[in-house]
């Protein structure tokens, strides 16, 4: 087999390996940076039938967060609620994990709460070419005029399901990808970002 390493950023990396931290692709200041973050906890929250309004009120009371029933993200006190479906949110906590217990205490019979900390990995994506790179896998318009800070979307990147958002106070994008797909996702991201240079870190 010819040596294609000068144009194949994945040369030598089998599909069964999580690509290691480091620089990939063009030898320039990276156009995309991806950092794997470790959220303390993740849980899915699903409003019980007819209890959506009560749930929003409870969220305000318990966490000071304005729960929006739309593909948006709202955060307060270290908790982020990302709308993934009508009446459903993925909840991220960056504090130590008693998330399910806290949510249970606040929402009790109003919602179904399910532990999801191990189900997905969280990435922060930034860099001057972040939208150009994401456009290679996402059929979603990320132009700031239509996808502004606070927007979220559950969609596919290169045939892999992801939930993506832009936090109101941050300029980067955050993305959740299912654990079993992580290697495939990174491969697609590396391939997409190689032309402009890509730096991956946080995996150790």
């Amino acid at each position: 087999m010819a040596d294609h390493s000068h144009h194949d950023p994945l040369a030598g990396i089998p599909v069964t390996l999580l690509p290691p931290d480091g620089h990939y692709g063009a030898q320039v200041e990276p156009g995309l940076r991806a950092t794997r973050l470790v959220p303390a906890a993740l849980a899915s929250l699903a409003a019980r039938r007819g209890r959506e309004v009560e749930l929003a009120e409870a969220a305000e009371r318990a966490f000071g967060v304005r729960l929006i029933d739309a593909p948006r993200v709202s955060s307060a006190g270290g908790l982020s609620f990302i709308g993934t479906a009508p009446g459903r949110w993925m909840v991220l906590s960056d504090a130590a994990s008693d998330l399910v217990i806290r949510l249970d205490a606040a929402f009790g019979r109003l919602a179904a709460i399910t532990e999801q900390t191990d189900s997905a990995l969280l990435y922060a994506l930034s860099g001057p070419e972040v939208r150009e790179v994401l456009a290679k896998g996402l059929a979603l318009d990320l132009h700031p005029s239509v996808f502004a800070a606070g927007s979220a979307a559950t969609t596919v990147f290169a045939h892999i399901g992801v939930t993506l958002w832009q936090a109101p106070e941050a300029s980067d994008y955050r993305l959740l990808v299912a654990r079993s797909y992580e290697a495939a996702f990174l491969r697609a991201l590396i391939a997409a970002a190689a032309p402009c240079g890509f730096h991956l870190d946080g995996r150790g």
Binding site: V15, T16, Q27, R49, A112, K136, V146, H159, S180, A188
Partner: protein
């Protein structure tokens, strides 16, 4: 050399070296391969498809039918590349095609002598007799002779990308109309993408001299380009062809990022396939010139008039030393006179029209160009050597014939608007007699047309239409637009008299040069009844070559229209479909090639299994361990036998994380399960699990799995690996659409939990060593089919299920997925004294077949619960999905093939899944088919092969023999019918 000393959009400071058919030449940056060849006096570039006639460069664009070359060498070799589109680069190597031993002396030009036999439709009339000659003789010979270029023999070393783009206005084509449209929309603040096929913007303004606003047109192009580049909301994509209009404002385009480089820069793709989502689009694709057809019109040196002018003006390359022009329209005169003014030796203009506009006649006289009005070219001539190019032509005018010397004949039969994209949604173009051309009819929603693509050939009209359509598109989106000032340009008339074919000319008159279709072939098609334009195309192959008939479609159907007497408009065109130009398959694949064809899913214990040397197998998108070979084992069966024996003798473990896992919460969770499973779950005790079967509404089994009740309003369901997504979709349908009144939520937890099955008589002992105090896995604490929450490995939360697919004492342990590998290792350590054995899905299959459990091979979507011996599970007290249809007489028929077990009569025989069952003595005919073998395995415990299968009246025939007929693999022997369970039929080992 035929290069003008000045002028042209080439950079004389950057010479480039290239090779054609092994010979070295020089060109300049800005040249195409075609322009550089002409500048080097290379006028013979290929041999035609059928007759191997010598051919030259015919056009200057994508409509090129003849100048097809093999570009590059080795793994990047690309056949059938149009030399007119190849951007010259240093070191380029190209070869002519379809000739042997050489371009000048081609042995297969003898095919020309066979032309009476190779006319239209010969494919349908020849090579039929004798029939057995086809495979041995005709096909191999035809294969060797057919085709043009050769594909590269190695894997494509380049990579490709796919990308998405969004815009308000997509402008297709950056000629004068497109530049104005982009400017109007861009200034209004619309998000604009301007796509241009060429490597420069400007369109026809690059190919013609002329002034805009008192200055050379090139200055207008440069200034417009500069302003567009300065606008953040405008994206210009050159080398980008929009090839298709799809539904809902979606456009396909291919960007040739690196085609013009010897090799792509590191990590850059060769090409990018774009999916552009545009609210509005303006098509400014221009028009393509068509020729007049006459005898000998394919000789090298005969080319389109506009192309000849393009070579002179844009590339400063003279197509030849003595030029004549043959035309029926005014534009060709302007091309001819512009060439003369630039230094080409244009000696005569022959026009079929008896009268010509006075200004053109005056200009011709002023420039000293002879004009022959009312004239027609009736023959062409060339030298006597093989592969010789044009040397002269014969003209008939006013009752006399005359021979003219010429090495280049520039021909124009008029211009055809490039309507193709307007037809991609099924719209049909309409005929305009005043310009003798088809123009767009209805267009896809959101797409409008401006300029020559719409039939407007005067530059003033083109500029105005482009500006108007760009502004309208922006205004429709609610943006405020200002009226663009239109620069003044000279007035241009386009007068044309339709003329298609010189009847009575001598020699073959080619209509489609690439597929060697002549005017005579059209006559044959007409005579044989193939008169509709769709039949004409397919019978003669006119328009079916890689140039898609760009220079032949209209002429061909016009000739047919003359024969049938119908109007051209009535005859119509064939249907234009995407892609507008060929698109490399690699571009459609992008990153998804080879191992990345689709995403691979890895289980939480993958690395651990790999470290033990597991062999993996694809199960849908997953990689699962198939078996774990040990040193010294010679084949997979030996490994699998060891694994199976170890499980029944002691203990083994297998990752079962790939099952779908669905969390159900809510007071109606049990009621919901009752409606989707055939059996009852609302009565399931907390802390217990139950096997469930799920039907489709048509009564067939969709999936099976176990569902456990963890709390009053809390269940966890598992599905098979393959059906996880399908089941979740089905459950959501039931909940959202059928029974939205039910108070229950569904959440997928497939990824949250790693799950390992531990099976064998020692499994409880192993498990007990890893559970924390307080988690009781004794027979009392975790009875058969129990489900409890607990903790393992010092504080890791776990769910423990007493389940068994293998029929041995068994458990499934679920832990949060990050702990999956640690769990596997902990179990291995805890089980070391028992010789714990990791096993894969092969052994899993053997174990479940030994027990008669159904799996994917039996859950085919065509089997009912009754077929599988599970009919009695179905509750009669409640409705569930599929209940009514499962009772249909046809599928409730007890004579349907149903599940039983099989043993070979001769115990040494290997059983095969897929063998069909016949009553012994009955003929092996479909009518006697009584079922088939669904699953087989070698049972190391029994020492022979066993199988499960579906047999008519199966349970009644236990103890009898049937014939297992497998003609595909050459097997035919008898098998014994037995109960579908070979080991521990009473299930005593399960419940200990």
């Amino acid at each position: 050399m035929s290069r003008l000393s000045s002028g042209g959009l080439i950079d004389r400071a950057r010479p480039l070296s290239f090779r054609f058919d092994g010979k070295g030449y020089q060109g300049y940056e800005g040249d195409t391969l075609a322009s550089a060849l002409l500048a080097n006096d290379v006028r013979l570039v290929g041999r035609s498809f059928k007759y191997h006639r010598p051919r030259g460069i015919f056009s200057a664009g994508p409509e090129e039918p003849n100048a097809l070359v093999e570009l590059r060498e080795g793994a990047r070799r690309e056949p059938n590349t149009r030399a007119t589109l190849v951007e010259l680069f240093d070191g380029l190597a190209a070869s002519s095609q379809n000739r042997w031993p050489s371009l000048a002396l081609d042995a297969l030009s003898v095919n020309g002598l066979l032309s009476p036999f190779l006319g239209a439709g010969f494919y349908y009339k020849t090579f039929m007799w004798p029939a057995h000659f086809w495979e041995k003789l005709y096909e191999p010979v035809i294969r060797r002779a057919a085709g043009l270029g050769r594909a590269a023999p190695e894997e494509d070393p380049d990579h490709y990308e796919k990308a998405n783009a969004f815009c308000d206005v997509l402008v297709i084509g950056a000629g004068p109309a497109g530049l104005m449209a982009a400017l109007a929309a861009g200034r209004a603040g619309a998000r604009v993408i301007l796509a241009e096929e060429d490597f420069r913007v400007g369109g026809r303004l690059n190919a013609e001299p002329g002034e805009i606003d008192g200055a050379p047109a090139g200055e207008f192009v440069a200034a417009t380009l500069a302003e567009l580049c300065s606008l953040d909301n405008v994206r210009i994509m050159t080398r980008t062809t929009v090839f298709g209009v799809y539904d809902g404002g979606a456009y396909g385009a291919v960007e040739r990022v690196s085609d013009h480089l010897a090799t792509p820069a590191p990590f850059q793709p060769r090409q990018v396939l774009w999916r552009i989502q545009a609210t509005r689009a303006v098509l400014c694709a221009g028009a393509t010139e068509r020729p007049i057809v006459f005898g000998g019109n394919d000789r090298p040196g005969v080319m389109l008039a506009g192309a000849a002018a393009t070579y002179v003006h844009r590339y400063a390359a003279l197509p030849g030393k003595r030029l004549a022009v043959f035309a029926n329209n005014d534009a060709a005169w302007r091309d001819a006179l512009a060439m003369k003014a630039a230094g080409a030796n244009v000696e005569a203009i022959i026009d079929i029209r008896p009268d010509i506009a006075a200004p053109l006649a005056r200009e011709a006289e002023r420039q000293g160009v002879r004009t022959i009005l009312g004239g027609q070219v009736v023959a062409t001539h060339s030298g006597l050597l093989p592969g010789a190019t044009l040397s002269g032509l014969t003209v008939a005018a006013n009752g006399r014939t005359e021979r003219l010397a010429a090495d280049t004949l520039a021909v124009s039969g008029g211009w055809s608007p490039n309507v193709h994209l307007t037809c991609h949604h099924g719209g049909k173009p309409t005929w305009r007699a005043d310009i003798a051309a088809f123009v767009p009819g209805s267009t896809p929603p959101g797409l409008t047309v401006a300029g020559a693509a719409k039939g407007s050939f005067a530059l003033a009209d083109i500029l105005r239409e482009g500006a108007e359509e760009g502004a309208t598109a922006a205004a429709d989106l609610g943006l405020a637009t200002t009226i663009l000032a239109l620069p003044p340009v000279a007035d241009e008339r386009y007068a044309i008299t339709p003329f298609w074919h010189v009847a009575g000319s001598k020699g073959p008159a080619f209509v489609d040069q690439q597929n060697d279709v002549t005017a005579k072939d059209i006559g044959i098609a007409h005579k044989e009844g193939f008169r509709s334009v769709e039949h004409l195309k397919r019978y003669t192959t006119l328009g079916m070559a890689t140039d898609q008939g760009r220079t032949s479609n209209v002429t061909g159907l016009a000739i047919m229209a003359e024969l049938t007497g119908a109007g051209i408009g009535e005859t119509g065109t064939t249907i234009f479909r995407p892609p507008y130009t060929p698109v490399a398959l690699g571009a459609f694949a992008g990153h998804h090639r080879g191992q990345d064809f689709r995403p691979t899913r890895l289980t939480p214990t993958h690395d651990w299994a790999a470290s033990l040397g597991a062999v993996f197998i694809e199960t849908g998108p997953w990689l699962r361990a198939q078996y774990f070979p040990r040193d010294g084992e010679t084949d997979w069966l030996e490994t699998v036998n060891r694994e199976v024996k170890a499980v029944r003798a002691s203990v083994g473990l297998i990752d079962v994380s790939t099952f779908g896992k669905i969390d159900l919460q809510g007071p109606d969770a049990g009621a919901f399960l009752d409606r989707v499973y055939i059996n009852t779950f609302s009565t399931l005790a907390i802390g217990k699990a139950r096997y469930g079967v799920m039907l489709r509404e048509d009564g067939m089994v969709m999936d099976d799995g176990t569902t456990a009740r963890l709390g009053e309003s809390h269940y966890v369901m598992t599905t098979t690996t393959a059906n996880a997504g399908k089941v979740f979709q089905h459950l959501e349908f039931c909940l959202q659409v059928l029974w939205p009144e039910l108070d229950v939520t569904l959440t997928s937890v497939s990824e949250q939990w790693a799950q390992i099955a531990l099976a064998g008589p020692r499994s409880r002992e192993v498990l007990a060593r890893i559970v924390d105090a307080g988690t009781d896995v004794s027979n009392d604490g975790l009875p058969f089919m129990g489900a409890i929450a607990g903790a393992v490995m010092g504080g890791v939360p776990a769910r423990l299920f007493r389940l068994s697919f293998s029929g041995e004492l068994g458990f499934e342990i679920a832990v949060p997925a990050r702990h999956g590998e640690a769990l596997a290792k902990a179990l291995m350590a805890a089980g070391e004294t028992f010789g714990i054995t990791p096993y894969g899905i092969e052994a899993l299959g053997v174990l479940r077949i030994e027990k008669g459990h159904v799996s994917g091979n039996e859950l085919t979507g065509q089997t009912t619960a009754a077929d599988l011996g599970l009919g009695r599970m179905a509750s009669t007290k409640k409705d569930h999905i599929g209940r009514v249809m499962a009772a249909r007489p046809g599928i409730a028929d007890p004579e349907r093939p149903s599940l039983v077990g099989f043993r070979p009569v001769d115990r040494t025989q290997r059983l095969r899944a897929g063998a069909h069952f016949l009553t012994p003595g009955k003929a092996a005919e479909v009518g006697n088919d009584e079922g088939y073998m669904t699953s087989v395995a070698y049972s190391p415990h029994l020492g022979h092969w066993i199988g499960l299968g579906l047999l008519k009246d199966g349970p009644e025939r236990i103890g009898y023999r049937v014939r297992a007929y497998d003609p595909v693999r050459g097997n035919d022997f008898e098998v014994e019918v037995c109960a579908p369970g070979f080991i521990d039929p009473k299930g005593e080992r399960l419940r200990g």
